[in-house]
């Protein structure tokens, strides 16, 4: 079941990654792009999800939830550094500005995957469902990069 879940989307994504551009998903006025994760050492450590949301509309939205079969407890977090100390509070609503974009990226907003159902390996993909306050829900495919990756290997379209 798990193999099927991971391998089928992988083939689809792999072809588009080789082609260059990152796959995109659209819901309402929002475009989700550059969805990636990092390989984990085993399944005990939390995994991570990063992506970019671009809002082509004139009304702001909020990203309020994330779900995925890859983890028992996925949650939106933000890395915050206060007085030099890093913490990762829950981010109940990540603002997506009108005619603008927000990036979930290393050192800032991210989806944290607690209770991974399996270790994530480079080259895997897994589905994730994002919930926006206005635009609703959209399912995306997240590509797993190396643990040492700084960005997705696909080319992110200018947004």
């Amino acid at each position: 079941m798990k193999t099927l879940l991971y391998s089928v989307p992988f083939l689809l994504i792999a072809s588009s990654a080789i082609a260059g551009s990152c796959p995109q998903w659209t819901v309402g006025d929002l475009v989700i792009d550059a969805a990636w994760s990092k390989a984990t050492i085993g399944d005990a450590r939390p995994g991570i999800i990063y992506f970019t949301v671009t809002n082509t509309g004139a009304e702001a939205d909020n990203l309020t939830g994330i779900a995925t079969p890859a983890a028992e407890m996925p949650m939106l977090h933000e890395t915050v550094v206060t007085d030099g100390i890093a913490s990762m509070p829950h981010a109940p609503a990540i603002p997506v500005p009108a005619n603008g974009s927000v990036s979930l990226a290393p050192g800032g907003y991210h989806g944290m995957l607690m209770g991974l159902t399996a270790a994530l390996a480079k080259g895997d993909t897994f589905p994730a469902t994002l919930t926006f306050e206005r635009a609703g829900t959209v399912e995306i495919e997240v590509a797993v990069e190396a643990l040492t990756a700084r960005e997705p290997t696909c080319r992110q379209d200018a947004s």
């Binding site: 995994g47 890395t79 030099g84 100390i85 890093a86 990762m88 944290m112």
Partner: protein, 203 residues
């Protein structure tokens, strides 16, 4: 939410206070007559530190082992999903920019998670990054003393699912070859300022 954050900051403050007191005590006990007291929030010189930790190669390491070479030291834990891998990748970028000069540096990741980060776990983790990075860990007491001498703060934060994460000082500390503290590269510091700071300890 604000309550939780206040709680975190409050506890951090107490930890810092405890850390400062501990460090000051350790420092005073070694040097008979104390000159000017060290600043409350900057790391001691390596020559005034007394911590002992275990490396990812299971060797005992102390601050004296680092005197003679410029050092780059940061704190983290291997269960850390965002901050620590990001810091490690920033460091990788700086090392790349410094080229062979970077080989002169002692580079160390000190764990604040004694419970999970055994030397074996540290070994597995640092192997994923750069072979020049030394992973250090120790008992809760050893880590507490190290934190006190570096003036860093850390705190275990329980999560809803029974697991826990760690809040910790995220900056990278730089020391001159003679052990004097040089500067801190902040977590969100513009990369263009990071490499010149490292060049100053290499000069």
């Amino acid at each position: 939410m604000p309550t939780r954050r206040q709680l975190i900051l409050g506890t951090g403050g107490i930890l810092a206070l405890a850390a400062g007191t501990l460090a000051l005590g350790a420092w005073r006990s070694r040097s008979g007559v104390a000159p000017a007291p060290p600043s409350a929030d900057l790391p001691l010189p390596l020559t005034a530190m007394s911590w002992q930790l275990t490396s990812h190669l299971s060797a005992r390491v102390g601050p004296g082992d680092w005197v003679g070479r410029p050092a780059l030291v940061f704190f983290g834990f291997t269960w850390c999903p965002d901050v620590c891998p990001t810091t490690l990748m920033n460091i990788a970028g700086w090392l790349e920019e410094l080229g062979s000069e970077a080989d002169k540096l002692t580079i160390a990741l000190i764990s604040v998670d004694s419970e999970r980060d055994t030397p074996e776990v540290m070994s597995e983790y640092v192997a994923m990054f750069d072979p020049r990075i030394l992973g250090l860990t120790g008992s809760p007491e050893e880590i507490a003393l190290t934190a006190a001498e570096f003036r860093i703060r850390y705190e275990k934060v329980p999560r809803d699912d029974g697991d826990y994460t760690m809040n910790h000082t995220a900056g990278v500390f730089l020391f001159y070859p003679d052990g004097r503290f040089a500067s801190i590269i902040d977590f969100h510091e513009d990369p263009q300022f990071a490499v010149p700071k490292i060049k100053r300890i290499l000069a």
